[in-house]
Subunit: 333 residues, 4 copies
Amino acid sequence: MYNLDFKSDRSMDLVGIGRLCIDLNADQFNRPMEETTSFTKYVGGSPANIAIGAARLGLRSGFIGKVSDDQMGRFIQQYLQKNNIDVNGVSVDDTGAVTGLAFTEIKSPENCSILMYRDNVADLKLDTTNVSEDYIQQSKALLISGTALAASPSREAVFLALDYAKKHGVIVFFDLDYRAYSWNNDKETAVYYNLVAEKCDVIIGTREEFDMMEQFENFSQDDHKTANKWFDYSAEIVVIKHGSEGSIAYTKEGQTERSGIFKTKVLKTFGAGDAYASSFIYGLMNGWDLDQGMQFGSASASIVISKHSCSDAMPTVEEINQFLKSASISEKE
Amino acid sequence: MYNLDFKSDRSMDLVGIGRLCIDLNADQFNRPMEETTSFTKYVGGSPANIAIGAARLGLRSGFIGKVSDDQMGRFIQQYLQKNNIDVNGVSVDDTGAVTGLAFTEIKSPENCSILMYRDNVADLKLDTTNVSEDYIQQSKALLISGTALAASPSREAVFLALDYAKKHGVIVFFDLDYRAYSWNNDKETAVYYNLVAEKCDVIIGTREEFDMMEQFENFSQDDHKTANKWFDYSAEIVVIKHGSEGSIAYTKEGQTERSGIFKTKVLKTFGAGDAYASSFIYGLMNGWDLDQGMQFGSASASIVISKHSCSDAMPTVEEINQFLKSASISEKE
Amino acid sequence: MYNLDFKSDRSMDLVGIGRLCIDLNADQFNRPMEETTSFTKYVGGSPANIAIGAARLGLRSGFIGKVSDDQMGRFIQQYLQKNNIDVNGVSVDDTGAVTGLAFTEIKSPENCSILMYRDNVADLKLDTTNVSEDYIQQSKALLISGTALAASPSREAVFLALDYAKKHGVIVFFDLDYRAYSWNNDKETAVYYNLVAEKCDVIIGTREEFDMMEQFENFSQDDHKTANKWFDYSAEIVVIKHGSEGSIAYTKEGQTERSGIFKTKVLKTFGAGDAYASSFIYGLMNGWDLDQGMQFGSASASIVISKHSCSDAMPTVEEINQFLKSASISEKE
Amino acid sequence: MYNLDFKSDRSMDLVGIGRLCIDLNADQFNRPMEETTSFTKYVGGSPANIAIGAARLGLRSGFIGKVSDDQMGRFIQQYLQKNNIDVNGVSVDDTGAVTGLAFTEIKSPENCSILMYRDNVADLKLDTTNVSEDYIQQSKALLISGTALAASPSREAVFLALDYAKKHGVIVFFDLDYRAYSWNNDKETAVYYNLVAEKCDVIIGTREEFDMMEQFENFSQDDHKTANKWFDYSAEIVVIKHGSEGSIAYTKEGQTERSGIFKTKVLKTFGAGDAYASSFIYGLMNGWDLDQGMQFGSASASIVISKHSCSDAMPTVEEINQFLKSASISEKE
């Protein structure tokens, strides 16, 4: 069991904060990008994907972010609105920033890479003046994505949002989403990740991400110690993902749950984590048992990695249930 | 008549210097970019387009530029090579720069715009150490594109290339290609454009570009005075383009030629100038009369604006001749 | 009473972290700087001054900082060593940074100002790799100066030092030392000051500095509420300074002490806070009663503001006792 | 003989453009800076020194530059005015820039060095909008100092001033004043120095400075070839300085003059070149024979290097004549 007190008097369920980008996914698969000739445009960015996934599942979602003042930025805003995401927390940059881009290359289902455009991007221009205390206190939960910590002034905006959330009893989910290319060095990264994690209720990340955060510790690669470290601060649940080995969740109250992954026809690996997070959060916000939420997350991930996009492929409850009926899970111990 | 002494003992005809980029052209036309869903990838950048155009016409072409060390940069190099352009002058950036991008939006044939990604681009990282005196002296002509002057160290690389060209009797073409977004202010722009133009043999630009360069002068918008100003320095030919009104060419020896444009079914306006320049240069390098070269340039421009890409649409001599047979020119006085 | 557990098994008493600079104090007083003709050179920077003051009083002091690789940096290192401060934690910059400068202008004792040189300064280049866990755990106490939070990578170095201090039971003093010119905006400032203050044992600042930190709170300018806020985190003692009105200290255990200032012949106001902090810390580390430490601090401040320098004027215990014998305090309620 | 047509109808004789700085000269000599304790403040910067020197000799001088909006900037303006230099061309920075500083270290008369503060300096913020065509055309001559070319926007401001000077028949002196620390690399440096030198009437520099400018040439270290190169452009006189060996001047009309240096009691070597330039220019503007001007320059240099400051030590005509009466020159062949 776990103890997350979602306030019932809030008008929104989940507000994401951080990256709003564009994915440009190669239309031609199984070849290097030098040989692709066209790209399809999708909204992207980990917290954007999670917010879209949550909205598809029926959560009343909102977003705090910043978009460029051009066609790309307007496309993002319009897409969020079409997906029933409140955009009152989304600001428009006025400094000439651009929208971050991620060109995907799918050499094979197991060999995918991304070519990023992250110079002068609008999402990292989010600043403290763009973060409304009033907006945050209207929500049951806040989702923080670690990439938003990579640079000022976005970094400070996240800390301020976190302060407001704590002040108003908003449950905070922290999806680590560590992207080395965004950071100067891993010591700085660990400093900020730890400062945020100390104040969060639910922390979700890969084993490698937690390793990065533990570089100043004496223990290493011990999931149980990792979880306990954060239970000493504010965490109620810690989820550690092990790729194809599945994931493991710990609760402050002592529960441990493992979850495998579903076999599926994989097109690309992108988006699995975001799909998992959105569905797992959905489960928690509905008071489900941990194992049920984890299974729901794994199913959602399997659906997304079989499709071309991340955001646009986020499934509904019905799709996930349909998938679960026909799927066979490969459980790991 | 004009007096351009192309040295016959050179192994290349034309070396371009400057921008090597990617165009991402919307696959869906006649709508704002917010509503386009996919883009096709082409090599772009004015001097790249001119070099490709020149190579298609049979000129032995080379290039001095810098590409990113990623899939985009390798695509550019491969495309140049496929088009018989020597890439021994093309360097690979080692600082983490990206390839410049131009997303095109075709709302209507008359209403086209470009969304540029120009932060931290590899082409502007070209520096003096990348410019080989030996490479330049192997060519009959050097083509300078003004955008390469927009920032250091590319700016200094161009000045050095220009010095080498003058030292070795390489004829210098200056395509103004002024893009306001690349510059801090128009006074700085004019300073550098003028410093380069003083040393060039052939200067090609729009009336608006020459206006920018003449902001410190007492005369304005007088094509004849514009041309004479540069004849007092090194110019032999000055071409001033007036959009749909056609263009006008002056020679130091006193000749004036006007040229109209051909009627065609326009898809977009991009690429017209680059097509014109490559074909006009081809004419000059073959010793054609001015009017013949201008007509050839106008035909080439008409072909390119009827197609989806700029670079990939550059015509061969046969295509231009075929076009000229069937075309009716709308001459302007 | 207060409860600060200084570990007795440490080889150092106090390690400062942050700014190491040069003061250039006008040799001519009571005139604008336009009319001064020469300057005398001293080591400066708030934490440097406090460390020097503490060393003069007999505390075994050390420092974590970064100096420029030039004559100014070497002068600072030599001066610290002459004052019996361990410099094993002081790194030398290798990026071409300079030493920060503070030119003082003394128009009158009440009208002093500083002209700062803070571009590309070595002290703010301190980074996480320069912070040794081993060094910090050798000390009873760590002194953090807020200005070191103003920019990366110094900011992250301070957070890391703070983590190490907490891990090893090192008592942390936080001298707010807020200098608006070092920061982008006061929201960012408050975010970082609060993140640090949450983990500190003793917080010392002016009323204005605490106001800056409380801009997201609903209360304001209430010393008691200010103190209580930090007692909810880690603080044991909070000292709030009110300029010529004296200062007030609160302890977590409920004690409140007020202290006035001593009348003296003032030359300039600089250095009063640093002298106060070093002597007050000396008192705490000797287990003195709060009021005794505060009086000692006020006496030290009075001595320093009657002299030309800050660092070089830091008094010994004997000097302070001598001063106290002859001084009459103007107590405020 | 030489042919410099100074227009008689101008209200100013000489306008300098470029660096306005502060020298902080160690009050203690013959020791490393770590051991100096105080500094005296003077106006500094090569073109400032030359303008001050010229004004002391009676030339009606003006200046185009930018100073910081603080006590240092105001001190510079006031000092220039006290020395009868017109400051209508001096702008005040509004971006928070500081005044450049030069701390001098005099270990011995032969071993002097400078510690520079050149980050975010006001003098390099001079931009094209600060350069008045009207101001320049009021002067007989313009003095360009090469350091002003080291960065944008100052670089473009110099090119614009040069254009205005050429347009209005203002004679242009180019004092090379090359400081490696201000530049990215020597190829860029050479590019810009050459672009300016091509348009100047009188070029004054050391052999090492000309070597830097000739790195793309096939000849080297040949004074005569150096001079001839510039006679092919616009130069009328080229002066090449060989340190203690004296200097050599060439005219376009074929004259060659050598000049030695005077024996004097040297305090420091700074300022010799600026004193020489101001007095040599004075000679040219009075129509003196080359050798007379060179001797006057050498005498002025000897006076300055025997004193503590550069700017403040600039001599009057009477002082130089007095010196010449008693001096014995050590002529070199």
